[in-house]
């Protein structure tokens, strides 16, 4: 075991740092999706042109083909340099793209992957439905096969960036009368196709980042199905292990900055003299360190065996809940100023309100605990 990096990795870290230092935009990313889209696209393009997009993606599709450790180094330096959240490109870069790399045909990969890295194509996710939340396998949106097309009817919900997206990773039922995990397919849906209606949903923080999406006889070519008809569940799950493993490194590095800022704030306003607050800060500082250690452990597992270890699901849950504790502390340290509020603010209160998503989106904390209990400890399945 060792926590050092090789000379080559250190050189790579220097390169990352140098580039970020002179290229991170000085203006803040606008917080509302409609305003942010131009910013997000321009920033992603700049990353791509300089060779910083898709560091561990295959070179054939616009990536750099470097190691996962180098990807981690980049993400660490990215967060340290306070580079902006990738925003609207999040789904394509962190989820849709990796799913395509693992499951898509040559034609699908060569059309989509480079566009994702260039920030030219914005992706959104279409998994959850009003009646299929934690019970994702109860998906009802259906695609009837007509000639070489799927004709889609139904609705999806909690779709971030739906109104600015070009493409959607859509999981739908393509086999009539099929139940649960069987008969689902994972398709690439053109968000500009006729028959799609988007109804934005306003979050309690005031943002309208996500939406409900309705499909009324929307036609999708069968050639847009990824991984074969009826294999949708398998395709969808292939990326979830990625998400649990390495998808949240930037957040984890940011947690390290946040705890340092919180301690500095508590010192400045004197609240650190409260033993309860000091103890919570000490606890979170230890936990942030452990989160990095756990991430490194998981990354080295990936390097060693090609896949994240069984404890990757622990990282996901721990990251989310630690993030919320940090957000709660930031609000506590504001004292009574926290009641000053306006939709559109960009402050700790907004972070706190937005942060409720992290134990709900992509599998609730309760679902994560089911997974840990069943897969890591071998307890009987509740469902």
């Amino acid at each position: 075991m060792d926590i050092g990096f090789s000379p080559e990795e250190m050189r790579f870290r220097d390169e990352c740092r140098d580039w970020l230092q002179s290229n991170v935009p000085l203006e803040k990313r606008p917080i509302d999706a409609a305003d942010a889209i131009g910013f997000d696209k321009a920033w992603q393009r700049r990353l791509f042109d300089a060779g910083w997009a898709g560091i561990n993606w295959p070179t054939a599709y616009g990536g750099r083909g470097l190691s996962i450790v180098q990807q981690v180094i980049w993400l660490e330096e990215y967060a340290k340099a306070h580079a902006p959240w990738i925003g609207a490109n999040f789904v394509g870069v962190n989820h849709g793209g990796p799913t395509l790399i693992l499951n898509a045909s040559e034609a699908q990969k060569s059309y989509h992957l480079t566009r994702i890295l260039q920030g030219e194509a914005i992706w959104c996710q279409g998994f959850s439905e009003p009646g299929a939340g934690s019970d994702l396998a109860s998906i009802k949106t259906r695609g009837r096969i007509e000639g070489d097309e799927l004709v889609v009817n139904g609705s999806k919900i909690w779709t971030s960036f739906a109104h600015v997206a070009d493409w959607q990773e859509l999981v739908l039922r393509t086999e009539e009368g099929s139940q649960r995990h069987a008969g689902l397919s994972w398709a690439i849906c053109d968000m500009h196709a006729p028959g799609i209606t988007i109804r934005p949903i306003r979050k309690m923080s005031g943002q309208t980042e996500f939406a409900e999406v309705f499909y009324d006889d929307v036609r999708i070519p069968l050639s847009n199905v990824v991984g074969g008809l009826g294999n949708g569940w398998k395709v969808a799950m292939s990326t979830l292990s990625f998400e649990r493993g390495t998808g949240f490194i930037a957040e984890q590095v940011r947690a390290g900055q946040e705890i340092a800022e919180l301690i500095a704030t508590a010192r400045a306003n004197g609240m650190i003299r409260d033993d309860g607050i000091a103890d919570q800060l000490a606890q979170m500082r230890a936990e942030v360190a452990a989160l990095r250690a756990m991430t490194y452990r998981n990354i080295s597992e990936v390097v060693r065996t090609g896949q994240p270890g069984p404890e990757a699901s622990v990282i996901r849950l721990f990251t989310a809940e630690l993030g919320q504790r940090l957000e709660r502390m930031a609000v506590l340290l504001m004292g009574e100023d926290m009641i000053d509020f306006a939709y559109g603010d960009d402050n700790a209160v907004q972070d706190y309100l937005r942060g409720f998503a992290s134990t709900i989106a992509g599998g609730t904390a309760q679902i994560q605990r089911d997974i840990i209990g069943e897969r890591l400890l071998g307890l009987p399945k509740s469902r």
């Binding site: 060792d2 000490a282 230890a286 756990m294 452990r297 080295s300 605990r369 089911d370």
Partner: protein, 300 residues
């Protein structure tokens, strides 16, 4: 960067786990056979990182997690540290003293058959060569006796890594203790039936077990990182070891409590094993405790 076990470490871990299962079962921690210490010494665990042994603290931490999982004698911690940091090493057992002001009384843990006593202090280790001649009394941890004796003069190791080493080993014991409680709870939740199904089927119980797994994984990760920081001589090793000790102690205590709850009625009996983990956890929190002030300091 690599925080996974290499083949050699994995083999050592498995061998330690097997030996502990056959010779030092957790369930027997109420009372340990008099010959156990000699066997532990023969296995080499009292001087793994002694000068000339060429083993790193990371490997030692892996092994001490397994020993801690079996509620191994507290004297192993002090003996291993004494053999590493004091010139001639020790043929015999070294008991562990909790920090105390000088001059005065010190509380000595696991004194049975010891030839010397090692006191942990935040900035140094102090060694007293003294026979085991004071009367013993029990502690909350049934496997560990104690005695009190006065102290004044001692040999000291001012090497800053010395107290960190003992703190790291104590953290490893706590990680093992947290693992033991987690596994005991999960095993019981698969076996015990109520409402015609294993109780681990119910989310209310399953999630208690999942949280035990989270705490154990978090603590073990930080332990490995901290061990590597100590091996590499990093300036922030003290911070990382303190973080590891704090998280490991918490995991051991919280998992110890949760394990009793998962076991229900049998869990609060003296006959069943769960209380052994909880009681060990309570003792460990006083051994080389984490420094909260250090965790709030600016990074070095």
């Amino acid at each position: 960067m690599d925080l996974t076990l290499n083949d050699e470490q994995e083999a050592l871990r498995t061998a330690t786990a097997d030996w502990c299962r056959d010779n030092m079962a957790l369930e027997d921690a109420r009372w340990r056979a008099p010959g156990l210490w000699a066997e532990l010494e023969a296995m080499g665990w009292t001087g793994m990182t002694a000068p000339g042994m060429d083993l790193d603290h990371a490997t030692e931490a892996v092994v001490f997690c397994e020993l801690g999982r079996s509620i191994a004698p507290i004297g192993l911690l002090s003996t291993a540290a004494a053999n590493r940091w004091f010139a001639d090493g020790f043929a015999g057992k070294v008991a562990l003293a909790l920090p105390a002001d000088e001059p005065g009384d010190m509380r000595v843990l696991d004194p049975g058959g010891s030839a010397a006593v090692l006191m942990w202090q935040a900035d140094k280790l102090c060694l007293f060569v003294t026979p085991d001649d004071a009367p013993h009394a029990p502690t909350i941890d049934l496997s560990t006796d104690q005695c009190r004796r006065s102290w004044t003069v001692s040999v000291q190791s001012d090497n800053t890594a010395a107290p960190l080493h003992l703190q790291l080993l104590a953290a490893a014991y706590a990680v093992g203790c947290a693992d033991a409680a987690r596994d005991m709870a999960a095993d019981y939740a698969k076996l015990r039936q109520q409402f015609d199904r294993p109780i681990g089927w119910f989310q209310a119980l399953k999630h208690i077990c999942s949280d035990m797994a989270v705490r154990a994984a978090v603590a073990r990760s930080q332990l490995y990182y901290a061990a590597c920081a100590l091996d590499a001589g990093h300036a922030d090793a003290a911070f990382h070891i303190s973080a590891a000790k704090r998280l490991a102690d918490q995991a051991a205590l919280d998992n110890g409590r949760a394990n009793i709850q998962v076991h229900g009625g049998i869990g609060m009996t003296d006959e069943a094993a769960p209380h052994l983990c909880l009681k060990r956890a309570h003792l460990l929190q006083f051994i080389a405790p984490a420094d909260a002030a250090l965790l709030l300091k600016d990074p070095v």
